[in-house]
């Protein structure tokens, strides 16, 4: 269980995170979504004790990260692929981490096998591809068999096979009852990986919902083309639908499905030249939401910290 309460982080006059509150529950993959610079990484870094909040708190299992006894046994985190020293081998990198948290040495071999790096365990990390380093990061996160897993942009720079591997790994970890929080700036990635999403923009929570709910909420409107559009608009409004007129004179109808629009037009003997049910992509929805979030604060743009 992760709890973030009224978290604020300011750099001079700009707020990277601005009164952010949310909870992340076990047994599901929660996506932490927002454009570059929205404050995702800052929030995760505060959660993991690498940065200090200006105010508010971020707790894991009720404790601040630096209060957790042998934290690798409770929380596994992947912050960036470069987090291992390139001069060390994968094995010594993990052996050092394991030793610091009193984790048995044979876990190192186990997790290296789990992530498919057993054959390169004694190669220097500097020779690894980005995908291999991501796998090593996940191996480090799994070392202490933690109940909470936090990943910052885990699919950045990965090829399709790597992305699929991370996705199935995370889903499997959540299915085991663990708390999984991952950040991303890609809605399309979250749509297939996450159960819940926390959408933030400009350091504030914009939306907290399930992916399914988000999809259904923004799914339906109907594009209608008719030579007698104003008349049809009147009829549809009478049925309780919301109608807007596009620049081309077409109607966009929300609150009534395509069958209802077709039947209403037939009943009123209004000819139709086109009738299209449209669903906004999650990506569109997400961009619209985060653009709005960007509008309610006029602070200057910070350099992107994803």
């Amino acid at each position: 269980m992760i709890e973030v309460r009224e978290l604020t982080k300011r750099y001079g006059p700009t707020s990277a995170v601005d009164g952010l509150s949310f909870e992340v529950r076990p047994g599901a993959v929660t996506g932490f979504l927002g454009p570059n610079g929205a404050g995702k990484s800052t929030t995760l870094r505060i959660l993991l004790g690498l940065q200090r909040p200006t105010s508010g708190e971020a707790l894991i299992g009720g404790l601040r990260y630096d209060q957790i006894c042998r934290p690798l046994r409770r929380v596994g985190a992947v912050l960036d692929a470069g987090a291992a020293h390139p001069g060390r081998t994968a094995f010594t990198h993990l052996a050092g981490l394991a030793r610091s948290n009193g984790i048995a040495g044979d876990r190192v071999t186990t997790v290296l096998e789990e992530v498919g790096l057993a054959s390169v365990a004694h190669q220097r990390v500097g020779r690894f591809s980005l995908g291999m380093r991501q796998r090593l990061g996940i191996a480090a996160a799994l070392l202490g068999d933690p109940a909470v897993i936090v990943l910052d942009e885990p699919v950045n720079g990965l090829d399709a096979a790597g992305i699929r591997w991370i996705r199935s790994t995370l889903r499997a970890l959540a299915a085991e009852g663990r708390t999984v929080l991952l950040s991303s700036h890609l809605m399309s990635e979250m749509a297939v990986t996450a159960d819940h999403v926390l959408i933030i923009g400009r350091g504030r929570l914009v939306e907290e919902t399930s992916v399914a709910e988000l999809r259904s909420r923004f799914e339906r409107d109907v594009l209608v083309r008719s030579p007698r559009a104003p008349e049809l608009s009147h009829v549809l409004t009478g049925l309780g639908a919301t109608v807007t007129v596009t620049g081309d004179g077409d109607l966009v109808v929300a609150g009534a499905g395509a069958p209802a629009v077709g039947e209403a037009a037939a009943a009123a003997s209004i000819p139709l030249h086109g009738l299209t049910a449209r669903s906004a992509t999650l990506e569109d929805v997400y961009l619209r939401m985060t653009e709005e979030a960007a509008d309610f604060q006029a602070a200057p743009e910070r350099p992107a910290r994803s």
Binding site: L50, C69, L72, T92, G96
Partner: protein
């Protein structure tokens, strides 16, 4: 909480698996060999000199010729144990494992002291054994140690100075975070400052020179030297270096965010 003992053990694994550690130890070996060569040439020239000239020879003391370079190389190991983590980004992984920064820095300091002490003792013992073998039974002032046992305080003092330098390197690294800046500063402190001191008027040369790290060795050992500190004063100065470096390192490391 992660115990300090576990963290020290982990830091030991880390420092051993850094390639720079063996590179800097090799640097120490080279410094020792070069120092030995210089002493060899000094002894040869001494043998060729007249009896009157021989009285003007300086002491063939490895603390002057060899040990400052050894201290620099071993100090660099201490520095790299923290700066290499900042420059490679692996500091994030280190702090995820040990989030209490003072525990992490304390463990690094313990390992730096261990490495510094052991390497310092090893190198200074070898440097002095080498010097003693070359000097044979030649008299003072070239040979200040008529018997082997006379060199023991100097050997120990030289080892302590290397230990302190290694811990100072770590503290500087924790403050500066950059390898280049830390090694330059360490080099300035250990190798350049004593040269700079020579350009000062004598009183100031003595005052300033007495508190410089390499010059603490003869003052810690006691015996004949031109500097101002008593043995106790030298111990206090060495302790002050450790406290200042680690204190500044702890404050800086503890307060600043890791990006």
């Amino acid at each position: 909480m992660s115990t300090l003992q576990d963290t020290v053990a982990a830091e030991w694994i880390k420092i051993r698996s850094l390639r720079s550690t063996s590179a800097f130890l090799a640097g120490g070996v080279v410094a020792m060999l070069l120092g030995g060569l210089i002493l060899f040439l000094l002894v040869q020239s001494y043998d060729a000199a007249s009896a009157a000239d021989r009285l003007n020879y300086e002491t063939a003391d490895p603390t002057v010729v060899t040990m400052p370079f050894v201290a620099f190389f071993v100090g660099a190991i201490g520095a790299m144990s923290v700066t290499s983590e900042f420059t490679t980004g692996s500091i994030g992984a280190a702090l995820l494992a040990v989030p209490r920064r003072r525990v992490l820095l304390g463990a690094k300091a313990a390992v730096a002291a261990l490495v510094g002490g052991a390497a310092g003792a090893g190198f200074s013992l070898m440097a002095f054994a080498d010097a003693r073998l070359m000097l044979g039974n030649r008299p003072a002032p070239l040979n200040p140690w008529p018997r082997w046992t006379d060199a023991v305080p100097t050997v120990l003092a030289a080892a302590v100075v290397v230990l302190v330098t290694c811990v100072v390197g770590l503290g500087l690294g924790a403050v500066m975070r950059s390898t280049a800046a830390t090694l330059t500063t360490l080099g300035g402190l250990v190798l350049v400052a004593p040269i700079f001191a020579h350009f000062l008027p004598t009183t100031w040369q003595l005052r300033f020179g007495s508190i410089l790290l390499p010059n603490l060795a003869p003052q810690l050992a006691g015996g004949d030297h031109p500097w101002l500190l008593s043995q106790g004063g030298a111990v206090a100065a060495a302790a002050a270096y450790v406290v200042l470096a680690l204190g500044a390192g702890a404050v800086s490391f503890g307060r600043r965010d890791i990006s």
